[in-house]
């Protein structure tokens, strides 16, 4: 009995640093930030509570509203684009191609690099005076225009573009490993029925990749709301604030514009939106696990 208690106390002690981090850092700092969002803090934290005034101010700030719109456009197109391109690449590689390993390596390498690096590469490629536009014009098409990066209406799509370039390989790897887990019999059956290959992938393989694609889109979506370095490196949020994103708005207000209260309100909104996005998903998983348990 004595010995048993000593052993379990070792396990408790081993988890102590993690307990401290979880309670003091994860919960503690979050509570602290949420509290700050209800004060009129500017450069230093203040304890003058102003209720929801910072939130009201936040949603009157056009830059914040623009950042929400941008992250929505970016998020939808980025996740959809990565899923679509990743799935098509995986299906192509699944067709017993030669040099499969080489193609896989090429499609995934951008994922190994920093978003800063991705941003800077594409900044260079999309530079109107030197990049793709200039090269195509030099080939003779004098009126060719690909200057999205300096256009207020189009710049956000360059962020999407660079994001998909970086993230599609991730979906490819996850989807491909899912496809390799599907049994040979289904292929034989479908081919005896004379179903064309593309239909097999769309109607038979795709539905079975549900969990794999759900995991990928979850992973990609988590990245969306954190998107910061890609924008900083690629466009710096500009032109104007046409590529501003919430994470960058919060960072700027925290450390440069010294709007502590406003930034904290923004961060709180961000966390709430994550909770709202994740909760139904988690609930569905939980219910499915329970139903499985009941069977």
């Amino acid at each position: 009995m004595q010995a048993k208690r000593r052993r379990s106390s070792a396990a408790t002690i081993a988890l102590l640093p993690t307990w401290i981090a979880a309670i003091f850092i994860y919960i503690g700092t979050m509570v602290w930030s949420v509290r700050l969002s209800f004060t009129d803090s500017t450069i230093f934290p203040s304890s003058n509570y102003v209720g929801f005034a910072q939130y009201a101010r936040l949603f009157r700030t056009s830059r914040w509203l623009a950042s929400l719109e941008n992250v929505l456009i970016f998020g939808v197109l980025y996740v959809a684009g990565c899923l679509a391109l990743g799935f098509v690449l995986a299906a192509s590689l699944d067709r017993k191609v030669r040099f499969e390993a080489m193609f896989r390596t090429i499609f995934l390498y951008p994922y190994a690099m920093s978003f800063v690096v991705t941003g800077l590469i594409w900044q260079w490629m999309l530079n109107p005076t030197f990049g793709i536009q200039a090269s195509v014009r030099a080939l003779g098409w004098q009126n060719f225009a690909f200057d999205w990066i300096v256009s207020r209406d189009m710049a956000i799509y360059t962020v999407v573009f660079a994001g998909i370039w970086q993230g599609a390989g991730l979906v490819m790897v996850i989807a491909l490993s899912g496809m390799r887990g599907i049994g040979e019999e289904q292929w034989k059956a479908a081919q005896i029925d004379g179903i064309p290959v593309w239909r097999i992938y769309l109607s038979i393989i795709l539905p079975q990749l549900g969990p794999a694609l759900a995991a990928s889109s979850m992973l990609l979506s988590m990245g969306v709301i954190k998107t910061y370095d890609l924008v900083v490196a690629l466009t710096g949020g500009g032109p104007g604030f046409s590529t501003e994103v919430p994470a960058k708005f919060i960072m700027d207000n925290l450390f440069e514009r010294q709007n502590l209260g406003l930034a904290s309100a923004g961060a709180t909104v961000l966390v709430l939106s994550v909770v709202m996005a994740v909760a139904p998903f988690r609930y569905a998983l939980y219910m499915r696990a329970r139903r499985k348990g009941a069977q």
Binding site: A14, W19, I27, V116, V117, F130, A134, G266
Partner: protein, 294 residues
């Protein structure tokens, strides 16, 4: 992850469909490689060549001056010391942060799956929830906290923050790994009189070498590629390479030295790329294991 072995029938001869398939794959490969190629050729050009505006053209002659400048002379504001300092800062940050976080992750996974002390289920849930939350909500209080501990603007501070924010992922990886190992193994060792730490160091840690590899690769690339934490917590003298690179490229005065910028970009990407190329299979496993996080 399952073995990557193709399904379906083996194609017998070249058809129009096969040609289309290869055309698509080659076109896609070019799209993915084009930026890397462009960076490389730009970094080897002189500024005169770059001004001609043909971004995809091969350099007239190989000129490695941009690389030398990028490494030891590129300017960040008024300081012209290159990315060399940032490189060593990144090493100083990444190596201990990876070692500590993987070690703690292994202990956590082991304790959570075999010992389950009181409240450990709650702790695990807390970590998983914490892993989903955007860092911005933690940043300001954490800055204040580290300032009070005299760790703000120091390598130790950045390492600590990386370890803390890495906990959810490494714990999840190791917990899922250890959960699949039969509990009898731990029970038998306990009957033989081995304690918590002895079982960990003599049985579980040696058994988990594959997961140590996966978690280390995943953490290494993640921490090396980090921008936000380095920017906020490192302080001017300890900025990691990613932050320095962005400062060099995006705050230069006058004409931009595109060749130097691209050389510096390649230098920053080279470490994670090397890891990716040399540990291919493990990297893919790490990516796939990370996907479980959702």
């Amino acid at each position: 992850m399952t073995a990557l072995r193709p399904n379906g029938p083996k194609p017998s001869r070249l058809t129009v469909g096969r040609i289309g398939l290869y055309a698509f794959l080659i076109f896609s490969a070019l799209f993915f490689l084009l930026p890397l190629y462009t960076m490389l050729v730009t970094s080897l050009k002189t500024m005169e060549e770059i001004r001609q505006g043909r971004i995809f053209a091969l350099p007239g002659s190989l000129d490695f001056n941009a690389w030398k400048t990028a490494w030891s002379g590129a300017c960040m504001g008024t300081q012209c010391l290159g990315v060399r300092l940032g490189f060593w800062n990144s090493v100083k940050i990444t190596v201990p942060a990876v070692a500590i976080s993987v070690f703690i992750g292994a202990i956590n996974g082991y304790a959570l799956s075999f010992w389950r002390p009181k409240g450990s289920g709650f702790l695990f849930g807390l970590l998983m929830a914490g892993g989903l939350i955007p860092y911005q909500i933690f940043l300001y209080p954490l800055v204040r906290l580290l300032a009070n501990l005299s760790l703000y603007n120091s390598v130790a501070g950045v390492v600590l923050v990386h370890v803390i924010f890495g906990l959810p992922l490494v714990t999840l990886l190791f917990r899922n790994y250890f959960v699949a190992i039969p509990e009898e193994l731990c029970k038998a060792a306990r009957v033989d009189g081995a304690g918590f730490w002895r079982i960990f160091f003599e049985i579980m840690l040696p058994m988990s070498v594959p997961m140590v590899m996966v978690a280390s690769i995943f953490q290494f690339t993640g921490i090396w590629n980090d921008f936000l934490i380095g920017l906020v917590f490192a302080g001017r003298d300890n900025l990691p390479m990613t932050v320095q690179l962005n400062n060099i490229v995006n705050t230069t005065m006058g004409e931009r030295a595109y060749n130097v910028n691209m050389a510096a970009t390649i230098l920053t990407a080279i470490v994670p790329l090397a890891i990716y190329f040399f540990s291919g299979r493990w990297f893919v496993r790490g990516v796939a294991a990370g996907a479980v996080k959702g």
